[in-house]
C-alpha cells in the first residue's frame, strides 16, 4: 500500500502542518496562562523547555473546556423555558451554567459527575414538605 510505504516518509512530509501550527502558536495567546499549564504539567511529570508545546497543551485544554461549555449551553437552551406571565420576559432568558447541564455535557466526554440534589444537614432534608413534621 502506498500509504504503508509512505508512512515512513509521510511522517516527515505531513509534519509541516504541525510545525507551522506550532510556529503560529507564538502569535496566539491562549486564555490559560503558560505558567499555570506548566505548573500542572510539571506536577504530573511532564517537563519540557519548549514554550510552544506548553501553548499547544493550553490551546487543547481551552478547546476542551469550550466544547464542554458549548454543549452545556446547548443543553441549557434546549430545556423548555419556564412558564412566564409577562410576555416581555420570555425572550430575555438568563442562561446559567448549572450542574445539571454540565453533568450532561461531561457525560459525553466520559466524565461522570453526579451532583447530589440536596445537602443533608438536618434529618428532615429532602422530605416532602407536606409530610414533614414540625
Amino acid at each position: 500500500m502506498n500509504h504503508g510505504q509512505q508512512s515512513g516518509e509521510a511522517k516527515h512530509e505531513d509534519d509541516p502542518a504541525l510545525t507551522e501550527f506550532l510556529a503560529s502558536l507564538m502569535d496566539y495567546t491562549p486564555t490559560i496562562p503558560d505558567d499555570l499549564v506548566e505548573h500542572y504539567l510539571a506536577k504530573s511529570g511532564f517537563q519540557c523547555p519548549d514554550v510552544r508545546l506548553i501553548r499547544l497543551v493550553a490551546v487543547a485544554t481551552q478547546k476542551f473546556v469550550a466544547d464542554v461549555a458549548s454543549d452545556a449551553l446547548q443543553h441549557c437552551k434546549a430545556r423548555p423555558a419556564p412558564v412566564v406571565k409577562d410576555k416581555k420576559q420570555q425572550k430575555d432568558k438568563r442562561l446559567i451554567l448549572t450542574m445539571e447541564d454540565l453533568s450532561k455535557a461531561l457525560r459525553e466526554y466520559g466524565v461522570n459527575v453526579k451532583h447530589p440534589e440536596y445537602f443533608a444537614d438536618s434529618p428532615s432534608t429532602g422530605i416532602d414538605p407536606a409530610t414533614r413534621e414540625e
Partner: protein, 378 residues
C-alpha cells in the same frame, strides 16, 4: 507574604469579575470549605478564573444571534475547573509516558498529540499508519484557533511557583571564625552558637537558629520559642502542641518502689484472701503499681491533685486500698466482678456452691472491687 496577598486580591477580584449573581451568595459560605480541600490554592484560583473566562466567551449561534452564558453556578464552575485541571494533568502524564517509552526524558510535540488522541479528544479516528501530524486532533485544534476569539488571561501573572532562595549556613571562612578542631576545613558551615547560660532570653539571632540544625540539645529548645515570638501572625504555632517547647532535662521526682512486704501486709488486711494467693503476685504488683489506677479511685482515696499527671514524690500510703491480682486463682476470675450473673451459668453446678461461699467472704470488701470497672481482671 507576597503570595498570600496576591491570593487574597485575586480571590476578591474573582468574586466580582466573572461570577454571576447566583454564585455570589454562595461564594462567602463555600469559600472556607474550598480552601480546605484544594491543595494548591493559588494555581486553582487561577485555573478557575481562566475557565470562567473561556466559558464567558463560548457562544452558540442560534438564528444569527449569539447566545452566551450570563452566570455560573459556583459548584458547576468548580467542577469544570477540576475537570480542566485533571485534563491537563492527564495530558502531561500520558505524554511523559510516551516519551519514556521512546527512550526520551523530555516530551515531544508528537508525544502530546499522541496523548491527546488517547484521551479521545480528536474527532477523527486514529489510524496506526496515519501520520500523527495529520490526526484529527491537530486539525481540530488548528480549526479552533482559527475560529475562536483570542482572549488573553485577565491578570498579569508573576512567575510562579515562587522559589525562595534558601540561604545556606555560612561557612567558617565567611563568618570569620576559626574551626575549633584541626580536622575541620574552613569551607564547611560554621558551628551554631551555643549559649548555655541564656535559655530564656533571645540569645543568638533568629536566622542562625533557623538555619542551623541541631548542633546541641538546647537549640531545639530555643527555636520553637523564638520562632513563636517572631512570627506572631502564625496563630497555629501557638496552639500546636507538637511545636511546643520540649520538657526540660531536669530530674523528675518519681515515686520510689514500694516494698513488697508493706504491700502484701495491706493486701492481707483488706481482702481476706489467703496468703498463698498473694505470694503468686510478687512479680505483678510492682508493674501494676507503676501504672496509675483510674481517676475515680484517686479521688476516692483523696489524694492531693497531681499537676500535669506527673508522678508525685514520696510514697502513696493511701493507695494500698487497691488490690490488683493477676494470678492463678482457682476460681474463675470473671466471677469476682459483682453483678456478673451470666458468668455463673457458664460453670458447673458443683463449683457454684464454692463460688458462693467465697463471694460471701468478700462481700464486705465488694464495694472496692466493683468500683474498679469492668476492665479490671481480678
Amino acid at each position: 507574604m507576597v503570595l498570600h496577598v496576591m491570593l487574597g486580591e485575586l480571590v476578591s477580584l474573582n468574586m466580582s469579575n466573572g461570577v454571576g449573581e447566583g454564585g455570589r451568595s454562595q461564594s462567602r459560605e463555600s469559600h472556607g470549605k474550598r480552601e480546605l480541600f484544594q491543595g494548591n490554592d493559588f494555581a486553582y484560583v487561577l485555573a478557575r478564573m481562566a475557565v470562567a473566562q473561556i466559558c464567558e466567551n463560548v457562544e452558540v449561534n442560534v438564528s444569527q444571534k449569539g447566545v452566551r452564558f450570563s452566570a455560573f453556578q459556583e459548584s458547576a464552575l468548580d467542577t469544570l475547573t477540576g475537570v480542566a485541571v485533571q485534563y491537563i494533568q492527564s495530558i502531561g502524564k500520558s505524554a511523559q509516558f510516551y516519551a519514556n517509552v521512546a527512550g526520551r526524558v523530555e516530551g515531544n510535540s508528537l508525544d502530546i498529540v499522541q496523548a491527546l488522541t488517547d484521551l479521545g479528544s480528536g474527532s477523527g479516528v486514529s489510524d496506526v499508519e496515519c501520520c500523527l501530524g495529520d490526526s484529527g486532533i491537530v486539525k481540530d485544534v488548528i480549526r479552533y484557533t482559527g475560529e475562536a476569539e483570542e482572549v488573553p488571561f485577565v491578570y498579569a501573572l508573576p512567575r510562579f511557583p515562587i522559589n525562595k532562595e534558601k540561604r545556606g549556613a555560612p561557612s567558617f571562612s565567611e563568618v570569620g571564625a576559626e574551626p575549633p578542631y584541626e580536622h575541620i576545613p574552613v569551607w564547611l558551615p560554621a558551628f551554631p552558637e551555643t549559649n548555655v547560660g541564656t535559655i530564656e532570653g533571645n540569645g543568638p539571632s533568629l536566622p542562625s537558629i533557623q538555619h542551623s540544625f541541631n548542633g546541641g540539645g538546647l537549640e531545639v529548645l530555643k527555636s520553637p520559642k523564638s520562632a513563636r515570638n517572631s512570627t506572631q501572625g502564625e496563630e497555629e504555632m501557638e496552639g500546636n502542641p507538637f511545636l511546643a517547647a520540649p520538657l526540660r532535662f531536669v530530674e523528675n521526682e518519681v515515686s520510689p518502689v514500694v516494698r513488697l512486704l508493706e504491700l502484701s501486709n495491706e493486701v492481707v488486711g483488706i481482702s481476706h484472701v489467703s496468703d498463698k494467693h498473694t505470694s503468686n503476685n510478687n512479680s505483678h504488683i510492682p508493674v501494676l503499681e507503676a501504672s496509675t489506677p483510674c481517676d475515680d479511685i484517686n479521688n476516692k482515696n483523696k489524694l492531693s491533685e497531681s499537676e500535669d499527671g506527673k508522678k508525685k514524690g514520696g510514697a502513696r500510703p493511701q493507695q494500698t486500698l487497691l488490690c490488683f491480682k493477676i494470678g492463678t486463682l482457682k476460681r474463675p476470675s470473671c466471677l469476682a466482678i459483682k453483678g456478673s450473673v451470666q458468668g455463673r451459668r457458664w460453670f458447673q453446678e458443683g463449683e457454684v456452691k464454692r463460688e458462693k461461699k467465697s463471694e460471701t467472704e468478700e462481700n464486705g470488701e465488694r464495694f472496692d472491687l466493683a468500683n474498679l470497672g469492668p476492665d479490671v481482671v481480678i
